[in-house]
Amino acid sequence: MSLVTVVWSMIAAACLTLAAVHLPVWWRNREARATLAFSVAAICTAAIALCELAMLKAATPADYAAAQRWMNLPVALLLIALAGFAHHYLDARLRWLAVTAIVLRLVSLAINFSVGESGNFLHATSLHAVELMGEQVSIASGERNPWRAIGHLAIFLLMLYFIAASVHAWRQGRRAAALLVGGSLTFFMAASLARAFLVSWQGGDAPSTVSLFALGVVAVMGYALSADLLRANQMVIELSEREREAELVADAANLGTWTRDIVRDTVVASRKLRDLFGFAPGERLSGEQLVQRVHVDDRAAFRDRLSQAARRRGEYQSEFRLVLPDGRLRWVAALGQVDFDAHGQPVRSRGACIDITARKEAEQEMLRLRQDIAHVGRVSVMGQISSALAHEINQPLGAILRNAEAAALFMKHESPDLHEINAILEDIRKDDQRASAVIDRIRTLLRHEQVAMTSLNVRGLLADVAMLLRPDAAVRHVGLEFGVPADLPAVRGDQVQIQQVLLNLILNGMDSLEGLNDRPRSVTVTARRDGSKSVEISVSDSGRGIAADHFDRIFEPFYTTKSKGIGMGLSISRGLVEAHGGHLWAENSAIGATFRFTLPVAG
């Protein structure tokens, strides 16, 4: 059996097999052009091997030259395929080199089929045998084709191209690819050039072994592609593993996860997420469908967060209600982010959601309880000044009654004094307004409604509070003084709650003066600007100050030094002030104590 025949046939077979294996890969993924180039190169190599076999086994010079002529065709195609492979696999630059080389080679091919017996020989005259693998093979000699330089030049240019491609790949960090693929391509070209020089130009004696080298290159390329395939496979397996892990973790944490392809507007959602949102397991989902489940009132805020994240390329967080198909409501916290492509366009968004209904309900319950406590505090404060207030209302009521009785008696006269009657009626009207004002303020303070944050005028607040407290202050012989600068900005807060704090602090101040007669008895309330964003209000009394051993405890709930107190006033007041974003604290002054609190400026 001829070893040469076997070997060269095997080369052809191996190449065809490789091509057969890789062509379907390209067929399924047309983007894998390197694979296509490889398949073409493999097929060409097979053809080259067969032609070369014919050359080696040629009986006559004419046969040899003919075989060589035909071999030049797959060689040209092979070179094109290799250039293509370098272009796609190594992402080579300097394409003009490759293009020029290919053009030259095609020209050379045209010459091959038109001038002389082949591109190599104008006329092959004789054959002589050499030994290769233990047998005799043919080598031809004769008149060389002068145009063969064009083909060789093409190979030279391609070699340069491959060198550039290798360097480029090396620089890109793909060192293995640069060395292996780029290196072997370059070596193939270099070897071909060397052989061409030695044999074609110097008249050396060597059998044609192009296909051996070509096989080497094809093998390297095949290996590179297979390695890639293997890696890709491994990545797919790892990815599946990771996905499964992630799903397990999300499930364990009660997280629903989703990924949205923005370009195609499709959503892949985990089972948990579908449960959360009330979608069936197999239902096809889009981003808009998810958003539609969000409660109408929360939708705008949620969309706003999304667009902000898209603009600022960051994460977003949002809490909102879902309305399920059966009408149930659910509170959900969502965390997500947007991915961008190389051009900065959003391509994908991903996120996770968790059910926080229980937490939200607890929060709301706590808010209700806080408001209840504040209300109780208010009622208690009102209780403290109730008798003074009752007096304040009975004054105008008594006056109205007396006026009306007097008017009735006057009307019994022969000719009643109408001026006097008019004056009486006017006084009745004014007293009615007086009583209404006090009642209104009491009712405002006692109401138990939701907090309403508005812009408040500090002067007006203090005036209301003063009206409620003056009767009590008068009876207790305490002077109330107020000082508010005219240019003080408005503050942001709930009118009822701030008045409650003021009442509490001022009443405390009056209590601290109980039984003290050796000094002027006064409580002073002043307000001033504190920086650009807040206003500070202070309530000072002329009492004995806060004892050192009480100082740390006065804001504690249920702590009181009064015989008739529940001790909630300061604790509630502090809670209310802090809910407004301010602080409440106490200081001892030269005479007496001062309580200060801050409120944010409105607007």
Binding site: A388, H391, N394, G398, A399, L401, E405, A474, H477
Partner: protein, 205 residues
């Protein structure tokens, strides 16, 4: 006797006005004071009347004013008006001798009734007082000697016995007796005895 004057003391101007109107419409003279100090700055008591006092006032309160009036030379009856009645204040007021204690929103009948009673009482006291003063003036006109004779007469001694007691003639006794009767404007010994009792002299039977 003069017209009764009702004095109203209250720090609330509107109520003061209204109360004054009602009193005037009911036929009283009304005078208003917006503080206890203002009332105490003037002397009162030589006309019949009463004082309506607001319980809760700044500075000098209603109860303090009541105490001050009770200490004055000719105390007027005090009526308390309040916008808010609590037991402690009521008890204290009544103990201090208040004529009555009323709510400001009480119907006028109650109010005017109390005023009427107070004014009547004040009138009585005034009458008593002027009577006493008149008596004191009359008795002041009696000389010391006549006083001695009067005492013996009141003890029921006969003229002869008086003469013997005092070491004077019976005739002198009779002269003194006549003078006393004239000065005191009485005609009988019984009337003399009654008058003397009214004036506060000891009478033995």
């Amino acid at each position: 006797m003069a017209e009764p004057t009702v004095h109203v003391v209250d720090d609330d101007a509107s109520f003061l006005n209204a109360m004054s109107r009602l009193l005037r419409a009911s036929g009283y003279l009304a005078r208003t004071y917006c503080s206890a100090r203002e009332f105490l700055a003037e002397p009162h008591g030589d006309e019949p009347g009463c004082v309506l006092v607001d319980l809760r006032m700044p500075d000098i309160g209603g109860l303090d004013l009541q105490a001050a009036i009770a200490q004055s030379r000719y105390p007027l009856p005090v009526l308390f008006l309040t916008g808010q009645a609590d037991t402690a204040s009521t008890v204290r007021a009544m103990r201090g001798g208040a004529e009555d204690f009323l709510e400001k929103t009480a119907p006028k009948e109650l109010l005017l009734d109390a005023v009427r009673r107070a004014v009547a009482r004040s009138r009585h006291e005034l009458e008593d007082r002027s009577r006493r003063e008149e008596l004191r003036a009359r008795f002041a006109a009696i000389s010391a000697r006549e006083r001695e004779v009067l005492e013996h007469v009141l003890r029921g001694r006969l003229n002869k016995q008086i003469a013997g007691d005092l070491g004077i003639h019976e005739r002198t006794v009779k002269v003194h007796r006549k003078s006393i009767m004239t000065k005191l404007s009485v005609r009988s010994v019984a009337a003399l005895a009654q008058l003397s009792q009214e004036a506060g002299l000891p009478v033995h039977s």
